[in-house]
Structures are given as structure tokens and as C-alpha cells.
């Protein structure tokens, strides 16, 4: 397409969508002005402030004050591992989805495709990239830049490997992607021997949030199915569990975490504070997931299960092949909402004294050179920004997923 063609195309789009009639034009102008004003204010805040406090504390914000020196390689290796695994999976997925039209498979090793992938990835994850760029510009850290570039290179190479794997490797690639964060955690905790209590900042909450979501989701499904069970004991226990954990504030559960976990475990086995918090997040969120999933189960017409029964499928296959895939798909927005909720709740770890981002944000302002200058706005802004970017990305990804799975929806 020529440049002129692009211009007329864009012109037509603008006329069609923004200035179709007088009312649309007025709305466009008014909201455009408002948007420009807000962008200006936000940018002048970000650019106008002196971010020295955040610049000096970047490492603290990201991994907490206890991880330093060579230990910093632990989270870096974790990120590289995850980046490579995700790359492999996306490649394998691309390959299997375009099995019958190999021309449509994007291969990162071909320059034309390379650019297309880069363009799409940035368009898809721009908030994350904006944050990374902001952090790199602020700190001016060459190591940081190299670490980031290496992560991107690994994702690209992973994808290149993924499209070269034999068809049908998607399952293994997905498994590897699921295992990568677990291996990353094991490397940090045991490979580098960084004690749970030394985890801090976004490393800590990312771990707590991801582990909490990954564990509470299956538990929630199990409870939802238990609640529908014909066995009275099963049903009663599920209902009791759900009602208990939904009825108590999360803050209370966190504060009495050792007591609650003591109900299930002997005292000597009660784990350290961060792990306890993860367990509490899991138990708490599972109750909410259970109700979300129950809603999904109820949304299915009776006929689905009947048709599956009439075909002679055994009960658990009906559940796993017919009922759950549809029920979960119907409640993706609520599932993601609950996940975002848990992600944000990880900041509550400050009340049990853990070095999570909000606690750190206020600690930075008590450092001698920054004390009493009202800089908490800056540090909290930064912490809030990261929380928001992750939440926003989850939300966008869920909408993508919904659109994708919407194929053939009745």
C-alpha cells in the first residue's frame, strides 16, 4: 500500500468513527480535549517530579532490600526462564493453530516476521513495555538494559524453537510454561538459598499473587463441584468451607493466619510468614472462585449433561470435557476479576510485616536523605502504577481470551 493510500484510509476511518455527524463531532472534540488535558497532567507529573527517591530505591522496590549482590541473578534467571518458556509455547501454539496453512506461521528468525512479532507484542503489552522503558530510563542501568534485552531475545529464540517443534508439542510446551515459574521460585529459594523471609517488593507479591491464583483456582473448582455433589458430606463440607472463608475479612485471616493454618497442620509444620500468606490467599480466594464457578455451572442448559450421559460418557469425563470447559468460559470475566482482586490484595501483606511494595514505599520516605519531603506520593504512585499495569494487562488478556474462545458460542 502506498503512503497516500494509508492516508485516505485513515482519513475515512476518522470521518466514519469520530466525525460522522454534529453530535459525534462535539463528543469527539470534548473528550479529545479532556483526554489531552489528563495526559498532559499525568505526563507533567511523571516528567516534572524529581524521581531520585525511586531511582535510588528501584532495586528495593523490585525485589526487596534483602536481596543484593550476586543474589540479584536469582530473579533475573527466573525471568529469563519464564520468558523462554512462554516463547516456546506461543511458537508451538502458532504452529498448531496454523497447521493447515504453514505460510501463516510467524517465525522470529525471518526478518519480516521478526518485525511483525515485535510490533504485535508491543501493541499487545504496551503498558508493560512502557513501564520497563520508564524504569530503564530512570535508573539508566546498563545491566538492567542488558537483562531486559536478553529476556526479549530468549522469548524470540524460544518462539523460534516453538515453531520448529513437531506438531502436538503444544501440550508439552504448555506444561513447560506452567512449570517455569515453579522452577524459577525453586531456583531463587533453594538454588540461591534466599530465605522466604528475605523476599520483598514486587518479587514477593508477584510470587504470592501467582501462587495464590494458581492454587486457589483448582481448589475453587473442586469446591464448586463439591457443592453440587449428591453426597451430603461432600456438599456440607464444601458449603461450610465457602461460607466460612467468604464471611471473614481477608485482613483478619492474614492476622490470624498461623491460627487458621494450625487447624490443618501441626504447629511444628507451620511455614514461614510469606508462605502462610500464600496459603491464606489461596484458601480465601478459593471460596470466591467456587462461587464464580458455581455460577458458570448453573449457566449450562440441562441438556448438555443429558446429551453426554446419553452417549455413555462416565461422570468425570462429562465434567472435564463438557461441563467445565463451557462453565469456565462463561465466567471468564468473573474469574479474571477475582484474580485481579487477589493480585491487589497481596499488598495487604504489609499488615503482617512483610516487605511488600506499599510498606517499602513508605519506608523509602524515612531514609535520611528523603525524610520529611512529602515524597510518599511518588513512591506510592510508582507502586500503584505497577499494580495497575499488571491488573490492566490481565484484564486485556482476558478480553482477548474471551474473543478467541467465543468461536462457535451459541
Amino acid at each position: 500500500m502506498t503512503a497516500g493510500g494509508v492516508t485516505t484510509h485513515a482519513g475515512a476511518w476518522i470521518r466514519q468513527n469520530l466525525f460522522r455527524n454534529a453530535r459525534d463531532s462535539i463528543l469527539t472534540v470534548v473528550f479529545g480535549a479532556l483526554l489531552a488535558f489528563l495526559t498532559y497532567r499525568a505526563l507533567s507529573f511523571v516528567l516534572g517530579e524529581d524521581w531520585e527517591i525511586q531511582r535510588q530505591n528501584m532495586r528495593n522496590s523490585l525485589v526487596g532490600p534483602e536481596i543484593s549482590g550476586t543474589d540479584l541473578w536469582a530473579p533475573v534467571i527466573g525471568i529469563w526462564l519464564i520468558a523462554a518458556a512462554v516463547g516456546v509455547m506461543i511458537g508451538a501454539l502458532d504452529r498448531s493453530q496454523h497447521a493447515d496453512q504453514p505460510g501463516a506461521i510467524l517465525d522470529p528468525l525471518r526478518p519480516a516476521h521478526w518485525r511483525q512479532i515485535a510490533y504485535r507484542t508491543v501493541a499487545r503489552l504496551w503498558p508493560v513495555f512502557a513501564l520497563v522503558v520508564f524504569i530503564l530510563l530512570l535508573t539508566g542501568s546498563t545491566t538492567g538494559l542488558l537483562v531486559t534485552l536478553a529476556a526479549m531475545a530468549l522469548a524470540f529464540l524460544g518462539r523460534a524453537a516453538g515453531v520448529r517443534l513437531p506438531l502436538g508439542s503444544v501440550r508439552w510446551a504448555a506444561l513447560a510454561t506452567a512449570l517455569a515459574p515453579i522452577v524459577a521460585v525453586l531456583i531463587i529459594r533453594f538454588g540461591f538459598g534466599i530465605d522466604w523471609n528475605d523476599w520483598g517488593g514486587f518479587l514477593l507479591v508477584a510470587f504470592a499473587g501467582a501462587a495464590g491464583i494458581a492454587l486457589s483456582f483448582p481448589l475453587g473448582i473442586f469446591l464448586a463441584l463439591g457443592r453440587r455433589s449428591k453426597l451430603p458430606v461432600m456438599k456440607g463440607l464444601s458449603v461450610a468451607y465457602i461460607e466460612f472463608f467468604r464471611g471473614v475479612p481477608l485482613v483478619v485471616l492474614l492476622l490470624i493466619g498461623s491460627l487458621v493454618i494450625g487447624l490443618f497442620l501441626p504447629r511444628s509444620l507451620i511455614p514461614s510468614e510469606p508462605i502462610r500468606a500464600v496459603i491464606i490467599f489461596t484458601l480465601f480466594t478459593a471460596a470466591y472462585f467456587a462461587e464464580v464457578v458455581r455460577g458458570g455451572l448453573q449457566s449450562l442448559p440441562e441438556g448438555q449433561e443429558e446429551a453426554a450421559k446419553a452417549l455413555g460418557l462416565p461422570a468425570w469425563r462429562i465434567t472435564s470435557f463438557i461441563v467445565l470447559p463451557q462453565a469456565l468460559r462463561n465466567v471468564i470475566p468473573a474469574i479474571v476479576g477475582q484474580s485481579i482482586s487477589l493480585w491487589k490484595d497481596t499488598s495487604l501483606m504489609f499488615i503482617i510485616g512483610l516487605a511488600e511494595p506499599l510498606r517499602l514505599a513508605s519506608a523509602f520516605t524515612r531514609q535520611p536523605e528523603f525524610r520529611g519531603q512529602g515524597l510518599i506520593t511518588l513512591t506510592l504512585f510508582f507502586a500503584g502504577l505497577i499494580y495497575w499495569i499488571v491488573s490492566f494487562t490481565m484484564s486485556r488478556e482476558s478480553q482477548r481470551l474471551e474473543r478467541k474462545l467465543g468461536v462457535g458460542q451459541r
Binding site: 442448559p301 441438556g303 448438555q304 443429558e306 446429551a307 453426554a308 450421559k309 446419553a310 452417549l311 455413555g312 460418557l313 462416565p314 469425563r317 470435557f321 463438557i322 470447559p325 463451557q326 468460559r329 474462545l405 468461536v407 462457535g408 458460542q409 451459541r410
Partner: protein
């Protein structure tokens, strides 16, 4: 056929027509929903390769009757035997009967999250443990039989009602059942799609499939039914050939009902 019963004998629902022995037997079957009795002392036999059409007013228990045959409903008294297996609480027996019994529903009940081909191959793969390639070959053959082989890779929502119902038939047939149950397979369809589904069913009848069909399509009954069963208030009121129902139904209630649907 020398064993062909005379018209008088056919008036008893336990006298079968057709080539082989009895494949479905209901004896003194009662079914309650709470206090409400939906089936009252139902006695009926279906012979191998026989096509039985069940008619009757709304709420007369037609659906309940055929749903008891594959245990989507549990009967409360009496015996139901399908291909030598008596239905009880024994989950193995139930699954055995369901494997040999295909069912087609009024609302199609296709699995919307699976492609047409996956709808058709799911049960053979998961229940019969047929390898994927073999199941897909069989599945495409079944889709061929109901004349929609080209729709294999679409999702159910992308098909017309008539096509969906034919996929439902193919899905049931892919299990290679001995008996097919149809519960008003055409009553959710737009008129112009009814025929394509009836055609598939007629073809199936011609292949010698044993069928119980709840339908008010009397043209279909006339063409392929060996017997027609008229139900009212949970009971079998009258049995006979389609011709019998057209020409000289004996019960007043039957006449009244037929005058409404014909």
C-alpha cells in the same frame, strides 16, 4: 413373514413386528415425579429393527417413557430390559445400555464448544476408546450419512437448525448403537428444515435400525413406522399400524387427539 402378527394382535404393545427377537422390554413400569405419576403400568416391547412411533398430547409421558429407556429418568417400579441388560442402580449396567442406545433431543443439545467433528468423535474416543484417526474416519462417514460431510470443521452455532439436528443424529450413530431414541426431533425446527431431518431418519430406518420416535409427524409414521403407540396420562391407550390410526382408531380419546394434529 410367517410370524407377522395379524392386525388384532398388534393392538397389544407387547407384540412386536420385525425380523428378530425383542430388544427393548418394559414391564409394569411406573414413574413418579413427587406425587405425580408420569407413567402408569406401562407394558411394551420393541423388536429388533422395529420402528415405533409414540404420539400423545403434551404431558402424556412420551418423553418420560423414552428417557427411562436410557436411564435419564429412573423408573420407580417394574422392569426395563434393553438388549438383555436390566436397568437398575448398577452404574455398569446403565453405561452398557447407554453405549448401545443413541438419543436425539428436541433441542439438539450439541456441544457448542466443540467442532462438529469433535461432537461426533468424542464418545467413540472416550467411551469406546477408538483411536483418533479411526474415530474421525467413522465420524466423517456418519456425517456423510446425514449428508453434511462438508460441515465437519464448523461449530454447531454456525449451522442451521436442520443441520444441527442431523449432526446430533450422526453423533448418536457414531457410537454404533443398537437402538435409537428420538424425542420430538423436528418440533424445534423451522418448517422448511423438517424434511431434511425426517429424510435422514427414514434412511436410518431403512438400514434396519431399531427406533423409538416421539413425533407428531404422521407422514413419517405412515412411511416407516411398524407400529404407532398412543399415550395419554402416562398410559398406553392404543397401539396399531399407522394405517389403523388413519382409518379406524377405536378409542374416542385417540380420535379426538388425531383430529387435533392431522
Amino acid at each position: 413373514m410367517s410370524t407377522e402378527p395379524i392386525a388384532e394382535e398388534l393392538r397389544d404393545a407387547t407384540v412386536t413386528r420385525g425380523a428378530g427377537g425383542v430388544i427393548i422390554e418394559l414391564a409394569q413400569v411406573d414413574k413418579f415425579f413427587g406425587d405425580f405419576q408420569a407413567l402408569k403400568d406401562v407394558n411394551m416391547k420393541v423388536g429388533k429393527q422395529e420402528v415405533v412411533v409414540v404420539i400423545g398430547p403434551s404431558g402424556s409421558g412420551k418423553s418420560t417413557l423414552i428417557r427411562c429407556i436410557n436411564r435419564l429418568e429412573e423408573h420407580d417400579a417394574g422392569r426395563i430390559v434393553v438388549d438383555g441388560v436390566e436397568l437398575s442402580n448398577d452404574i455398569k449396567a446403565i453405561r452398557e445400555v447407554r453405549r448401545e442406545t443413541g438419543m436425539v433431543f428436541q433441542q439438539f443439545n450439541l456441544f457448542p464448544h466443540l467442532t462438529v467433528l469433535d461432537n461426533v468423535t468424542l464418545a467413540p474416543r472416550q467411551v469406546r476408546k477408538t483411536p483418533r484417526a479411526e474415530a474421525e474416519r467413522l465420524g466423517r462417514q456418519m456425517l456423510e450419512q446425514v449428508k453434511i460431510p462438508e460441515q465437519a470443521d464448523k461449530y454447531p452455532a454456525q449451522l442451521s437448525g436442520g443441520q444441527q439436528q442431523r449432526v446430533a443424529i450422526a453423533r448418536a450413530l457414531a457410537m454404533q448403537p443398537k437402538v435409537m431414541l428420538f424425542d420430538e426431533p423436528t418440533s424445534a425446527l423451522d418448517p422448511e428444515m423438517i424434511n431434511e431431518v425426517l429424510e435422514s431418519m427414514k434412511e436410518l430406518a431403512r438400514t434396519g435400525m431399531t427406533m423409538i420416535v416421539v413425533t407428531h409427524e404422521m407422514g413419517f409414521a405412515r412411511e416407516v413406522a411398524d407400529r404407532v403407540v398412543f399415550m395419554e396420562e402416562g398410559q398406553i391407550v392404543e397401539v396399531g399400524t399407522a394405517e389403523h390410526f388413519f382409518t379406524n382408531p377405536s378409542e374416542e380419546r385417540t380420535k379426538l387427539f388425531l383430529s387435533q394434529i392431522l
